[in-house]
C-alpha cells in the first residue's frame, strides 16, 4: 500500500508529533548541520565546485516541483521545461522592463509560469486518466514556439536575453558566491514550503488522489481542485527554477528549454526517489553531475570519447537508469540509501525493511 513515504517504522505517540515537521532530535540536528553548511560552503570549496552546486540547486528546485506533481499527486508532466522557460523570460522582462528588484522578479516570474501552466492544466486535469502528460507535451511545443516568435518578450530568435547582475543586500549576483546564496537560499525556501505543503491537508489530499482517485473523491476531496493545485504549485517551482537558471546563466535563449529538459526532470525524481523531497535533490545532483563526470572523469580513467558520443551515451544512460530504478528500486536513491543504512544498523540480522511501493498500481483491474 502506498500511503506515505515513511519507510522505516516510526513510532509516534501523539498527534503533535505526527504533525510536527521536526519530530525527532535527529531531524533538528540535521537542520542545524544543513544551515551551517549552507552558510559556510562558499568558504570551503572553489568557484568551479560552487558553480556545479548552483546548477544542481537550480535543477533541484524544478525536480522538487515535478515530484509534488508526480510523486504525490500521481500525474505526469512533460512540459516543465517550457514552464521553466516562461519563468526565465518572466524574470528577464520583470527586471529589464518593469524594473523590479531581482528577488521579487524571480518570485513573480514563478507565479506567471504557474498561471501559464493553468491554460493547459485546466483542460487536461478535469478528465480522468493521464491526459495531463499529453496536454503538457503540447504545452512544451506551443510555449517554446510562442517564445521563439514573440519578439517583444524574448528579443526574437537567436538573440540571447540577458539579466544584469544585481546587489541584494550583501549578495552580489555577479559572483558565483552571490548567486550561490540567492539560488540555494531559494532552494531551502522551496524545501521548507514543499515539506509544509505535503504534511498538511493538501499533501494528504494529493496522496489520496494518487492512491485511489475514486476513494479520494468519496472522502470528500475535490480531485479536480487538488490535482490542479498540485500542477499549479509544481509549475511555479519549474518557473522559479527557470528564473534562477536565467540569473545563474546570465543570458538565455529558448533553446535552453527543450523537451529533453522536461524528460530529465522526470529522470531526476525517478532516480532520486519518487514521493520524497530529498529524492528530488539527490536525483538533481545525479542527473546534473553525470554529464560532468562523463566529460571530465572518463579522460582521467583513460577513456577518450568524442563529445557527440558522450552526449548520446548520456541519453542512453539516463533512459536505462530510469528503467532500472522503476523496475528494481522504485523508491530511488533515497530508498536505496535507507535500505543500506537499515542493513548496517541491523547487522548481523537481516530483517527486511518494509518496501515502499510508491508506484504500486492500486487500480490494477482498470488497466
Amino acid at each position: 500500500m502506498a500511503t506515505t513515504a515513511v519507510l522505516r517504522p516510526q513510532l509516534r505517540t501523539s498527534y503533535r508529533q505526527e504533525r510536527s515537521a521536526l519530530a525527532s532530535r535527529a531531524g533538528r540536528t540535521r537542520l542545524a548541520v544543513v544551515a551551517g553548511l549552507f552558510l559556510a560552503l562558499p568558504y570551503l570549496v572553489g568557484d568551479y565546485s560552487l558553480d556545479l552546486v548552483n546548477l544542481v540547486a537550480v535543477a533541484a528546485v524544478a525536480s522538487i516541483g515535478v515530484n509534488i506533481l508526480t510523486g504525490y499527486a500521481g500525474q505526469l508532466s512533460v512540459g516543465h521545461a517550457a514552464f521553466a522557460a516562461v519563468g526565465a523570460y518572466g524574470a528577464v522582462n520583470l527586471v529589464g522592463r518593469a524594473g523590479l528588484p531581482l528577488w521579487a522578479a524571480v518570485v513573480v516570474a514563478a507565479l506567471i509560469a504557474g498561471c501559464a501552466s493553468l491554460v493547459f492544466g485546466l483542460v487536461a486535469v478535469r478528465i480522468r486518466g493521464l491526459y495531463l502528460a499529453i496536454a503538457t507535451l503540447a504545452a512544451q511545443f506551443v510555449i517554446v514556439w510562442v517564445l521563439n516568435h514573440w519578439e517583444w518578450v524574448t528579443g526574437g530568435t537567436q538573440v540571447a536575453a540577458s539579466i544584469p547582475a544585481e546587489r541584494i543586500g550583501p549578495i552580489d549576483t555577479g559572483t558565483v558566491q552571490g548567486r550561490y546564496y540567492l539560488i540555494v537560499g531559494f532552494l531551502l525556501i522551496c524545501v521548507v514550503f514543499a515539506a509544509n505543503l505535503l504534511r498538511s491537508r493538501c499533501g494528504r489530499a494529493f496522496v489520496a488522489i494518487r492512491d485511489h482517485s475514486l476513494a479520494a473523491a468519496g472522502s470528500g476531496i475535490s480531485v479536480f481542485r487538488y490535482t490542479l493545485l498540485a500542477f499549479f504549485v509544481s509549475s511555479c517551482y519549474a518557473g522559479l527554477a527557470g528564473a534562477l537558471f536565467a540569473v545563474n546563466a546570465g543570458a538565455i535563449t529558448p533553446e535552453f528549454f527543450p523537451l529533453s529538459l522536461s524528460i530529465s526532470y522526470i529522470a531526476m525524481i525517478i532516480i532520486g526517489g519518487v514521493g520524497t523531497i530529498a529524492g528530488g535533490i539527490w536525483g538533481a545532483a545525479f542527473v546534473t553531475l553525470l554529464p560532468v563526470f562523463l566529460r571530465d572523469g572518463l579522460p582521467v580513467l583513460g577513456i577518450e570519447l568524442t563529445s557527440e558520443l558522450v552526449a548520446n551515451l548520456q541519453l542512453v544512460l539516463f533512459g536505462a537508469a530510469i528503467l532500472v530504478f522503476l523496475v528494481a528500486e522504485p523508491g530511488g536513491l533515497v530508498q536505496l540509501a535507507r535500505r543500506l543504512r537499515d542493513r548496517v544498523a541491523r547487522w548481523p540480522y537481516r530483517t527486511p525493511a518494509p518496501d515502499a511501493y510508491l508506484l504500486d498500481g492500486n487500480e490494477r483491474g482498470s488497466r
Partner: protein
C-alpha cells in the same frame, strides 16, 4: 492560381502518413493500455533500419521494406519484454515513465548505432510526379499513402476477424476478465508491440522518403497525439479520420498562417487542435465514451 485543392491534397497525403504511425500507438493502447510516448523514436529507428537495408545492403525495396518491418516487429517484442513486462503489475504512471525512458534510450542509441549524419532513402519509384485532376503529386507520396491505408485496413481486418484480434479487444475491455477466460495477456501485449514496431518501420520508410532520415524524424511522433486524441484514443477508424484532419490542418496552417506569424505554425496548429479537442470532446470522434470527468 487557386492553391486550396493542392493544399487539401497535400494535407490528405500527410494525414495518411500520420495515421500510419498512429496505428501502432492505438494498438498498444488497445492491447496493453499503455500510453506510448516513444512512438516517434520507434519511427526514427524504423527509418534508419530501412535506410540501412535499402542503402548500404542494397536490397530492392520489395525485400527491404518487409525485412525492416520484420526487424522492427522483433524490436517491438524486445521492448515489450524489457520495458513493459517487468512493470506489468505497476501503475500506468510507471509504464508511462518507462516509455519516456525508452524514448530517451532510442534517441541516444540510434545515432550510436547508425551514426548521426542524415541519410536518404533511395526512392523505389520513378521520379516523375503523378498528375491527379490537374494537381502534381510526387509518385512516392501517392504510393506511401496507398500502402499506409492498406496497412491500416489490414490491421483493422486482423482486429475484427481473427482470434488474436478478439483476444486483444477482450484484453483492452477488461484485463482481469480476459485473463480468467484463458487469454494470454502477455502474448496479446507482445503482439500489439510487434505490430506497433512494424508500423513504425513502415512509417519510418514513408516519412524517411519524404523528409530524409535524421534525428528530426522522431518529431513526427509528436503528431501522433493530436491524431489519436481527435480520433479517440483507442479507435482505428478514428486514426484515419484524425490523421486526415491533422494533415489538412497542418497543410492549411503552414500556407495561410505561417506568413502572418512566422514559421513553424504547422507544428503548433495540430497541438492547439489537441487542446481544443480535450476541452470539448475528450473521447474524440470515435472513442468509447468511457472517459469520465474527475
Amino acid at each position: 492560381m487557386n492553391v486550396l485543392p493542392q493544399l487539401l491534397l497535400n494535407g490528405v497525403i500527410l494525414g495518411a502518413l500520420y495515421a500510419l504511425i498512429s496505428v501502432g500507438f492505438v494498438l498498444v493502447v488497445k492491447g496493453s493500455g499503455v500510453i506510448n510516448l516513444a512512438q516517434g523514436e520507434l519511427v526514427l529507428l524504423g527509418g534508419y533500419v530501412t535506410a540501412w537495408l535499402l542503402g548500404e545492403r542494397g536490397l530492392p525495396a520489395v525485400v527491404a521494406v518487409p525485412a525492416a518491418m520484420l526487424l522492427m516487429a522483433a524490436a517491438g517484442l524486445v521492448v515489450e519484454r524489457v520495458v513493459v513486462r517487468p512493470l506489468e503489475n505497476q501503475s500506468m504512471l510507471a509504464l508511462l515513465m518507462a516509455t519516456l525512458a525508452l524514448a530517451t534510450i532510442l534517441q541516444g542509441l540510434v545515432p550510436i548505432i547508425f551514426g548521426s549524419e542524415p541519410r536518404s532513402i533511395p526512392s523505389p519509384f520513378n521520379a516523375a510526379p503523378v498528375s491527379v485532376a490537374g494537381l502534381q503529386v510526387p509518385r512516392v507520396n501517392v504510393w506511401s499513402m496507398g500502402i499506409a491505408l492498406a496497412f491500416i485496413a489490414l490491421v483493422a481486418v486482423f482486429f475484427a476477424t481473427t482470434r488474436y484480434g478478439l483476444a486483444m479487444r477482450a484484453a483492452s475491455d477488461h484485463r482481469l476478465a480476459a485473463q480468467s477466460l484463458g487469454i494470454r495477456i502477455r502474448r496479446v501485449n507482445a503482439i500489439a508491440w510487434a505490430i506497433a514496431g512494424a508500423a513504425a518501420a513502415f512509417g519510418g520508410f514513408a516519412w524517411g522518403s519524404v523528409l530524409g532520415v535524421d534525428a528530426g524524424l522522431a518529431l513526427v511522433g509528436i503528431f501522433v497525439f493530436p491524431v489519436v486524441i481527435l480520433g479517440g484514443i483507442d479507435s482505428l477508424a478514428g486514426v484515419v479520420v484524425g490523421g486526415l484532419v491533422v494533415g489538412i490542418a497542418e497543410s492549411l496552417a503552414t500556407w495561410y498562417v505561417d506568413p502572418l506569424v512566422g514559421g513553424g505554425f504547422g507544428l503548433v496548429a495540430p497541438l492547439l487542435l489537441l487542446i481544443v479537442v480535450l476541452l470539448v470532446r475528450p473521447y474524440g470522434l470515435f472513442g468509447r465514451h468511457e472517459i469520465g470527468r474527475v
